[in-house]
């Protein structure tokens, strides 16, 4: 346990700045995650397997895959982020770390933001890095693959941020996993639409600057609003249990 | 009056099934919601009545369980 908690538990006199508290939370999440590498690998394997299902289940034809490829990759990425969300708070909730986080003098939404960013680094970023390989496997052209990775790069942090609200709301509930998907999937729809739409526009060699800017706007909106909602939800869930 | 006869009204110019299916579904579902809400209310009122009901008087009250609890107190 000694190596476990690296949270800034100090007296108010030597109070920690919000930024360094965020850093501490972020690096702690990374460290604890790397202790169980299998958990990090699972969403990625899931991503690859779901993508594999489509050529097998629908059609391996190049024309179909090229048309549907961006959608398949986006849906698979969305689902694997969704699956990994359950881990975002559960471990900390079970061992009591979360209660400590809520009690910190630093604003909770900043710490939540740090946790969401750590979640993205652990799941979203690997998905983005894996996407080119799968993009080639579904016969996307070079330009489309690049745009796809770009949309995933902008889009997956939005998924992590919005997802953190759902994870906080369903914390400590029975069958939280299904409920979480139920709550969050409708909120993911705009990201999915613009993610795939941008790639499609790029494959028709239309300009995609506007769509990418809009996705950036989604990201900014999620960065500013989601941590507040997530922090409020965390407080409610913790007072409940 | 947009229709010449009652049968023309029912037929809705060939679109009768669609129109009537919509209206039937509307009234059915609204009816179900209203019925369900009224029932829920009755159930809750009955529950609260049972909860608020005064304790039965001493002579008709079963005595066994109470004495047993008292004896186990020491």
């Amino acid at each position: 346990m000694a190596s476990e908690a690296k949270l800034p538990v100090r007296t108010p006199e030597e109070s920690v700045s919000a930024l360094s508290a965020m850093k501490a939370v972020f690096s702690r999440d990374l460290k604890t995650a790397f202790r169980q590498p299998q958990d990090l690998l699972n969403p990625l394997l899931f991503f690859v397997m779901v993508v594999t299902l489509f050529p097998l289940g629908v059609s391996p034809e190049v024309a179909f895959l090229r048309e549907a490829g961006s959608g398949i990759l986006w849906v698979a990425a969305l689902l694997s982020v969704l699956l990994s969300l359950d881990h975002l708070y559960r471990h900390d909730f079970n061992d009591g770390t979360l209660e400590q986080l809520v009690l910190q003098p630093q604003p909770l939404f900043l710490l939540v933001l740090a946790k969401s960013l750590a979640h993205w680094v652990l799941t979203g970023l690997p998905l983005v890095m894996l996407a080119p390989v799968l993009g080639v496997m579904v016969h996307l052209e070079g330009n489309s693959v690049a745009i796809l990775c770009l949309t995933l790069l902008i889009g997956t942090p939005v998924l992590s941020l919005i997802g953190s609200i759902g994870a906080a709301l369903t914390l400590g509930l029975r069958s939280a996993g299904v409920l979480l998907s139920l709550l969050i999937i409708p909120l993911y729809i705009p990201v999915l639409i613009f993610g795939t739409g941008t790639v499609m526009a790029a494959s028709e060699s239309a300009s995609v600057g506007g769509q990418l800017a809009l996705m950036g706007a989604f990201l900014v909106l999620a960065l500013t609003l989601a941590p507040f909602a997530s922090a409020a939800a965390l407080r409610i869930s913790l007072s409940n249990s | 009056m947009a229709f010449d006869s009652f049968s023309a009204f029912l037929a809705m110019g060939g679109h009768g099934p669609y129109v009537w299916a919509c209206y039937a579904m509307f009234f059915l579902l609204m009816g179900v919601v209203i019925w369900w809400s009224l029932r829920q209310r009755r159930v809750v009122i009955a529950q609260q009545q049972r909860r608020a009901a005064p304790m039965p008087s001493a002579d008709e009250r079963p005595t066994a369980s109470f004495t047993r609890i008292e004896s186990s107190q020491d």
Binding site: L169, T170, L182, P186 | A2, F9, V19, M30, Q40, V44
Partner: protein, 247 residues
């Protein structure tokens, strides 16, 4: 001002007001709705493009209209719940969500059935129908979360957070669904937008919208009263009320 606000928040006060209002709401709502529907079904002229199938409008539009405004009302109530911790507001959110879901379903159902004679298929991935479907998902999420948390207070507050997150998303969802729709199929024919609707058509439509609003108001009062009775069972006024009602 604050006194009125606190009074508004008191379940007992609301219960009394609701009881006096409800008969009026029901009678006026039913009268308006039935007038609108009968007028629309029997007396309104036939549409030159769609024939008689357009008469579905007199329930489709009220359902769709209310489905959306119920969610907005829930969001306002959710904000009040979170900011002022007003008891009545969270009762409103939990009491009204299933009604909103039913109305959304009705809007979808009537839209789909209307689509068959006009578009030739039951379902089309049209922007309006699709965003209605997503609204239905949002309602389901709210209901599922409310049911999953057993503690009433934290259930209400968690649901309030979700409703607010949803309402921030609704315009984004609408916009993106519309964009997506133009990407895939340019809109050829829209259900509710007509070049100009004669008064014989829009007056009954307005009546049925108003009527359904009033009926919703009645239903909301009824369901809120039920929730209040269930929650405030320990207070004296509920006990007295319940006693007076029975026996």
């Amino acid at each position: 001002m604050w006194q009125i606000f606190h009074k508004l928040g008191s379940p007992k006060w609301f219960f009394g007001i609701a009881s006096t209002l409800m008969p009026w709401l029901l009678v006026a709502g039913a009268a308006l709705l039935m007038t609108g529907i009968v007028w629309g079904l029997v007396f309104a002229p036939q549409d030159y493009l769609q024939g008689n199938s357009y008469r579905i409008i007199f329930i489709h539009v009220p359902s769709a209209f209310l489905a959306q405004s119920v969610y907005i009302m829930m969001a306002v109530a959710a904000l009040v719940t979170l900011v002022w911790r007003m008891k009545l507001a969270d009762v409103f959110v939990t009491a009204v969500a299933p009604v909103g879901a039913v109305l959304t379903f009705l809007a979808l159902f009537t839209g789909a059935v209307w689509g068959k004679p006009t578009w030739g298929t039951w379902w089309i991935w049209d922007a309006r129908l699709t965003s209605m479907l997503i609204l239905l998902f949002l309602y389901f999420g709210v209901m599922a979360l409310g049911a999953a948390i057993s503690d009433e207070k934290s259930s209400a507050r968690a649901v309030a957070v979700l409703v607010l997150v949803g309402v921030v998303n609704i315009p984004i969802i609408k916009y993106s669904v519309e964009w997506w729709n133009t990407l895939h199929q340019p809109a050829t024919f829209k259900l509710t937008e007509k070049p100009s609707m004669p008064a014989e058509m829009w007056v009954p439509l307005l009546l049925s919208v108003l009527g359904l609003y009033l009926i919703f108001g009645w239903l909301a009062c009824l369901r809120m009263q039920t929730h209040i009775l269930a929650r405030e069972g320990r207070t004296r006024w509920v006990k007295e009320l319940v006693q007076a009602r029975g026996n």
